[in-house]
Symmetry: C3
Subunit: 322 residues, 3 copies
């Protein structure tokens, strides 16, 4: 695997899920793979789960993680080509990427969407530079438009908890005080489309996700209707994806608290499990009752982040073996 970015990078999903189950059962069984290997975890943005689960996954595989916080441990990096660098950025990605790649065997990169220029974000400019200039396998630790480590962990969790074949999975928008990227809902939709589930996406008008990620999902603007008979509710806020009007990209179009997931909505589901990628704003995204209920999967879902990351790193390490 040269990069982990889209669902297609993981290949057959049944095989991946089976491998995830094995990794979860015997996490230390592949420690020889990571011997003398180093993974560089580069953070342009804050992180809790991704930062920790990636380190844990690497350690489980016998690999040494090196963490770098750009703009904190290091300086700010220029990402545009052809500029005269007389401002506040001391180094260009064009140098920084191959340099960092030279000190490791795998690179993971967190680089959020700027949410001001849709074309720039959806071109995944930063991540693509890592792939192009690094010459080492690259893992997206949430980049501008995708968060595949999260979506893979979500799929593992759904596989573990589903009560039958082809569960109904509802991805629902929920309110938030700030403008957030679309990476999580994009990847979740992409992975659910590839998996054996019935996917419904619900959000207020204007929040339509990019068609490349929506795929064959049913889009339903009535949240209550969408929730009917659902087996899994996956809540997440996102800002306007700007699909029809790019000038709206990144805007907060609604803070409608009637979309906050509560017992009212959960009542019409098939006793659905509640999921969220975390961090979650309590009583904005979801009420205390729903997230504290026994059907809430947010903690096992987070724990599966290690499993997902470990499968991805394991495959990359296997490809690196002589």
């Amino acid at each position: 695997m040269k990069s982990f970015f889209h669902v297609s990078d993981i290949g057959d999903l049944s095989a991946a899920l089976q491998e995830a189950a094995e990794v979860k059962r015997t996490p230390f069984a592949w420690k020889a793979l990571g011997e003398n290997k180093t993974i560089m975890l580069v953070f342009f943005n804050s992180s809790l789960r991704t930062r920790l689960s990636s380190q844990k996954a690497a350690l489980n595989l016998g690999m040494s993680p090196i963490v770098l916080n750009i703009g904190q441990d290091s300086w700010k990096l220029e990402t545009e080509m052809g500029v005269v660098m007389d401002g506040d950025k001391s180094e260009h990605l064009r140098e920084a990427i191959p340099v960092m790649a030279g000190y490791c065997d795998i690179i993971g990169v967190r680089s959020f969407a700027g949410l001001t220029d849709r074309a720039y974000d959806y071109a995944e400019t930063v991540l693509r530079q890592f792939i192009e200039y690094g010459g080492k396998p690259v893992i997206s630790l949430e980049s501008a438009t995708v968060h595949p480590c999260q979506a893979f962990a979500d799929l593992i969790t759904i596989e573990e908890y589903r009560r039958g074949p082809r569960p109904k999975v509802v991805l629902t928008w929920a309110p938030h005080p700030r403008s957030l990227p679309q990476a999580v809902p994009n990847s979740f939709a992409e992975w659910m489309n590839a998996a054996d589930v019935e996917l419904v996406i619900t959000h207020p008008e204007g929040y339509e996700l990019d068609p490349a990620f929506v795929g064959n999902a049913r889009v339903e603007y009535d949240q209550m209707k969408a929730f009917e008979g659902a087996d899994f509710i996956y809540a997440k806020n996102w800002s306007c994806p700007g699909v029809t009007d790019p000038s709206q990209y990144g805007r907060v179009l609604s803070q409608d608290r009637s979309w906050t997931v509560g017992t009212r909505q959960m009542a019409v589901t098939n006793d659905a499990f509640f999921m969220h990628c975390l961090p979650v704003r309590r009583n904005m995204i979801v009420t205390d009752e729903v997230i504290d209920a026994p059907t809430s999967l947010v903690i096992p879902e987070a724990a599966n982040r290690t499993v997902a990351a470990q499968v991805v790193m394991k495959r990359m390490l296997e490809d690196l073996q002589p």
Copy 2:
């Protein structure tokens, strides 16, 4: 050991001191214990000794440390229950704690007192949430009211340097430009009360420590009288503990430089050793002469932080063995 918080958690002190001596002699003898084990070191506040000695202790035991700086590597965490999270805090401790615990085998937490609400601080709200929601052994790396890793290292140091049985140990307040927590004097008093020493506590009026920590110690408001015949002087600043008047909690009541430990006070001691947990403000807490004298133990005391942390982690790892 499920948590390391109070002196009672370490059990018999003689046994603990003997184990500390063994760990100091052969620090790498228990590396098998930590194999495939991870300790998460969570810092809500800055740290030098605790950060480094905890990592070193973990490495000595063959364990992998993962360090997380809250609000720097990650985002700010909400600690109150039931709030609508529409402010600057992106995640609740209620999620963050079990998530972090899911990626490790032991958690260490540094979380200073806020020094504005005595009841909140003395309830050890943050640390107790780690114990309640984490489900993993928890080490206080200085929490609101205690700093047991420091006190254990202090006891080890006194045991190493005492010239006879039952030494006289004086805990003295000293001036400082800022308002500081009571965690260090609290734990020092608690541990000395449990140890075989004669404990005297001296400070200006109004700085009375919580009775739960003062125990059977003699409190003496005349610093010179307290120092008479002392074998060990342990200096530390703390802010008003607010025992009689909680509204005074956290205030700086005095900056009286006559309390700065100098040769004048040391002259009436039994050629006492000088101790301080560090960081120390020179010529505020203690004069250059006293801290630079051969009787100053601040450096061996800091070095014993690794030994203390290693004994605690070793016991936790032993409890985790199948």
Copy 3:
């Protein structure tokens, strides 16, 4: 090796270069040396290459790196003696150094020049305190006046790419928007003087480097003349070294863009390789054309940072063996 600071610390350069080639060929051959050993990497300033290559070098040798960012992970440190510490600095280097040294086997320190007081900077006050108070081997990870890890990596790179004996190496000043230290040009000049190369240094008047580093190099104020027939161009900005007038120390005397290294200057060289320590300001220090040309060595030069650091650490570890 008790410290790595000046070129003389590495001893015979031919032997060092041969050892570097071996380390590069079989980086993991000395993992037993670092068993149970810890290196403390202390950063008073930001770092990318040094931070990462030092960690990688330590890991290659089986050693555990512990990274500490002063003023971020920890608090600010006082460096002056005899002061009453009633300001914003919580701890004195006099304590912090032996404390840190107590938790490791080797210390690396990054501490940039302040660029306001020439005498203070050129006395290498901070680094010398680490050597004096730490009692452990000390590596300069760029201190006030030298950057030996960089210069050693530069020498390794020149050795790898030179087309014949005694190449002509030109160190050229180039413009930059900010005031930068002289550590890199100082060490480069020092190492080149000790190596078998013809060294020419070129810069606008007023930028004369300290004679202790210039050594026997030819100084040429006409950049084009200096470049004639050169085999390696080493570009770097530095601020006024204040050799003749200490009051000018640290000033930006010129931002003359005609000194930016471009195809015009490279045309008069012997198809010279271009080198820079990075981070580099594109189109200030060097044009895109020159740095993106096949003769640009900035990436292999950065990769050799691991090799240089590993040779230094390897020798220190060998000296620590019983």
